[in-house]
């Protein structure tokens, strides 16, 4: 079972994502900020990271560069409420950008594109 790390400061969204991605067949690890995310990356070694940008404490962009220090091959998907990151997510070394939406279809598709099912 593939393991994904979701770094999100909003508790409700963490809950929503956990429910939805568990249903999708992933092992879900949750972090509520950048610091936790970096720690969990080391300890849990997830296959993919979904990360918000605007967060208290360490923001997502800083967190991405630290996560990449650890393992450059792990896919990172930016999941932000700010559409302008869409144009230049590559420059932050993220692999994809999905705008935050109540419709999780796009995000799920993107995750799946990096982690195809392995029954």
């Amino acid at each position: 079972m593939k393991k994904i790390l979701i770094i999100e400061d909003e508790v409700n969204l963490r809950q929503l994502y956990q429910t939805e991605f568990t249903e999708e067949g992933y092992q879900v690890v949750l972090a509520k900020n950048g610091f936790e995310g970096i720690d969990l990356c080391k300890s849990e070694n997830p296959d993919l990271v979904v990360i918000d940008i605007r967060m208290p404490g360490m923001d997502g962009l800083d967190a991405i560069s630290r996560i990449l220090d650890h393992d450059r091959k792990r896919p990172i998907i930016i999941n932000s409420a700010y559409p302008q990151y869409q144009d230049n997510f590559m420059s932050w070394n993220a692999d994809a950008f999905v705008i935050k939406s109540s419709d999780l279809t796009a995000l799920k598709e993107k995750v799946r594109s990096f982690l195809p099912f392995q029954e």
Binding site: L61, A81, P83, Q84, L104
Partner: protein
């Protein structure tokens, strides 16, 4: 004849006279007006009178003394003894020293009377003195410079001095016996003559000026003093007339009078000139523009009321102070034109005041059509050319009067050819040693010689004018600078307004972003959980349709937020070479479905344009915004035309639609943020489009007629330029 007083020679005179005779004799001797000394043969004085003692200045009686005792030295003794031995009735003048030591002159007659010798003495000292005095007077009168006449109460001349004789040109013989009025002239009135005669008859003096006549009939002016000569008994002996020739004095007086009149006239003229100068100077300072001041100087130099020069040329130094350049001139080129010019000026009503007259000329007198102005256009001299009389006048800071091509310095005669005249004056215009320009004035038409006075006064005027012109020039420079400053200020204000707008918008965007983010998070939660719930219920469930509404509305709100956030914060353009033709095709294809919906056809008219730098994503957004607006403005079908062409350094993209158009009152609002007439719009599309275009260094303009359609033109620079604004926000 000798008197014989007896034969007694003993010396005893008295013995021959009885006492009565003796008394008579004694009285006769004592009362005689002459000094009498009677001596005997022995030289002893037997009788003498007091007069004799007085003459010889000998105190006491001489009687009984020897003749020798009367004198002091041997020579005198000899003289006296000779008188005694050879008496003579011929008077003998002798000089002796008196008893008291004075030198006295005595006239002596001696005669023998019997045995006695009688000496008669007369004191001559006084007579000699009188004679001397008379001689002196005569010499004085004869050598007097003034003419002197003596005449009697009938006017007959009985004395004249050489000065008078010389004056009238006649000898004394011809003058004496003539009557006074023979020499008088008709130039004096008969009243004056009568007055003089009245004075003569009344023995009163008369002083005055007369005109007398010489023997050759020529007249001369004299100052005359006639004074009566009165004798002791108040009898009029005659008159003395002293006259002085004042012809020369009169001539000089006349000349002085003439000079003084000239001087007065000159003073009046100069005062007038100075007052004119003052008026003109005042006028200079009340005239506003440089151009008017220049014209005023030329008009003053040529106007009939002031300097009356025929022509005046003005050269000014250029900005770099390297050249004198002909600026403006005034004056006719021919006598015919002179008549024309002056007739026209004469037609201008003249005013009492010089200022008003000149102002009237300034307003009405034309210029520019005259040849003088053609000449001034060719006058141009480098300030380093010291062979030019114009430059010399500036270097030497003085005016030059060129007469027949010559003045006190050598100069290049080219100017004479240019002016067509070799008589002119050059005036330097200086302000604090800085050359302002040069004025040239001449009388090419009237040929009136230029005099020193003209030069002096015009020189003063020119120096005043130089100040006024420099002042006006400075003022105009200042005005220009002020205008520039104002322009810079308004530009600054405009960019400040832009900046304020930008910062307002940035703040607004910031706020919108924050709000959007805060709203989006719960919205995602709402929508997300509803989705979860919907999956469990399925379409058959009673709540399903309601929950579906919640889900869709949440999505719609998200969409609004997406647009708001995206449009609010356009990034600075990332310009790369792209093909605008291709982009337009792409966008038109993208909007195909929408065109069908609104029944709109899109035509593209294009020139070949090269690739040029722009941000493809941003420009795509702009084109989508504009075309969507156009499509949505078209009711019941219509057409959109896109024209793409190159215009100088810009690329122009025009989008014309046949839509409903925009009301004039709304035209200015369409670029305002959150302005929208559409139900679904955010009101940000046009605003963000404008910002993107501006960030590209381009511009966007809208023309619209309600009911006819809208034309939007975008202009983008072809060349890459530095981005105007750096959007550094993440």
């Amino acid at each position: 004849m000798p008197y014989d007083l007896g034969n007694d020679n003993t010396g005893d005179l008295g013995s021959t006279l009885n006492p009565a005779q003796e008394a008579v004799f004694d009285a006769v001797i004592q009362h005689a007006p002459l000094g009498i000394i009677i001596i005997n043969d022995g030289g002893i004085i037997v009788r003498s009178n007091k007069k004799a003692s007085q003459i010889l200045e000998n105190p006491g009686s001489l009687d009984g003394r020897h003749l020798e005792e009367l004198v002091q030295n041997d020579a005198e003794k000899e003289l006296f003894l000779s008188l005694m031995h050879s008496p003579s009735v011929t008077p003998k003048l002798i000089k002796i020293n008196s008893y008291s030591g004075n030198e006295i002159e005595v006239q002596i007659i001696s005669c023998r009377i019997g045995s006695f010798i009688c000496l008669y003495l007369e004191d001559c000292s006084k007579i000699l003195t009188l004679e001397q005095e008379l001689r002196s007077f005569k010499t004085a009168i004869n050598s007097a410079a003034d003419a002197i006449l003596l005449f009697d109460k009938d006017g007959m001349i009985f004395f004249s001095n050489p000065a008078f004789e010389k004056q009238v040109g006649l000898s004394q013989e011809k003058i004496l016996g003539c009557e006074l009025q023979c020499f008088w002239s008709d130039k004096d009135s008969s009243e004056k003559h009568n007055e003089i005669w009245q004075c003569i008859h009344q023995a009163r003096p008369w002083f005055g000026e007369m005109t007398w006549m010489q023997s050759n009939q020529s007249l001369y002016d004299v100052e005359v003093r006639m004074t009566p000569i009165l004798m002791e008994e108040q009898q009029v002996f005659g008159f003395i007339c002293v006259q002085r020739n004042i012809t020369e004095r009169k001539r000089i007086q006349q000349q002085l009078l003439h000079y003084s009149e000239n001087l007065e006239r000159l003073v009046v003229d100069r005062t007038k000139s100075l007052s004119n100068l003052h008026d003109i100077t005042q006028l200079f300072h009340s005239t506003e523009t440089l151009e008017k001041r220049l014209r005023l100087l030329l008009i003053s130099a040529t106007a009939d009321e002031v300097f009356r020069f025929n022509r005046a040329f003005l050269l000014l130094t250029d900005k770099s102070k390297q050249y004198l350049i002909g600026r403006i001139a005034f004056g006719p080129s021919s006598p015919e034109e002179a008549n024309m010019v002056w007739n026209r000026i004469l037609g201008i009503p003249r005013s009492e005041s010089l200022s008003d007259t000149l102002l009237s000329y300034l307003e009405n007198a034309g210029s520019g059509e005259q040849r003088a102005n053609q000449i001034v256009q060719i006058l141009s001299v480098p300030l380093t050319d010291e062979s030019s009389i114009l430059v010399l006048s500036i270097i030497q800071k003085r005016s030059f009067l060129v007469k027949n091509g010559v003045t006190d310095v050598h100069f290049n005669q080219e100017i004479i050819r240019q002016l067509g005249n070799d008589n002119f004056a050059v005036f330097p215009m200086m302000v604090q040693d800085e050359p302002v320009g040069v004025l040239i004035a001449d009388n090419v038409i009237t040929k009136r010689p230029i005099n020193e006075e003209d030069i002096q006064f015009l020189d003063i005027l020119v120096s005043q004018a130089a100040l006024a012109i420099a002042h006006a020039d400075a003022m105009e420079q200042l005005a220009k600078k002020m205008q520039e400053t104002e322009m810079a200020y308004s530009e600054l204000r405009a960019s400040q307004e832009k900046l304020i707008e930008a910062s307002k918008f940035a703040a607004l965007g910031q706020m919108a972003a924050t709000v959007a983010h805060e709203i989006r998070t719960p919205l995602v939660a709402i929508g997300g959980f509803i989705n979860m719930m919907l999956k469990k219920r399925g379409p058959g469930d009673a709540e399903y349709s309601h929950m579906k509404i919640v889900k869709d509305e949440a999505l719609r709100m998200e969409d609004v937020l997406n647009r708001l956030l995206f449009y609010a914060r356009p990034n600075s353009p990332f310009k790369e070479l792209h093909d605008m033709n291709a982009l337009i095709d792409y966008v038109v294809a993208l909007l195909e479905a929408e065109c069908e919906e609104y029944d709109v056809s899109i035509d593209i008219e294009r020139d070949y344009i090269p690739m040029f730098p722009f941000d493809r994503n941003q420009m795509r957004q702009v084109l989508i915004n504009i075309l969507q607006n156009s499509i949505q403005s078209i009711e019941n079908g219509g057409r959109i035309t896109i024209r793409l062409c190159e215009d100088n350094s810009d690329i122009s993209i025009k989008v014309c639609d046949t839509g409903i158009g925009i009301a004039p009152k709304n035209l200015s609002l369409i670029f305002e943020p959150f302005y929208s007439t559409k139900h679904t719009g955010t009101g940000l599309g046009m605003h963000v489009s404008q910002r993107i275009i501006q960030n590209h260094g381009g511009s966007i303009h809208v023309n619209s007629q309600p009911g006819e359609g809208t034309e939007i033109e975008i202009r983008l620079p072809k060349e890459l330029e530095a981005p105007n604004e750096k959007d550094s926000d993440h």
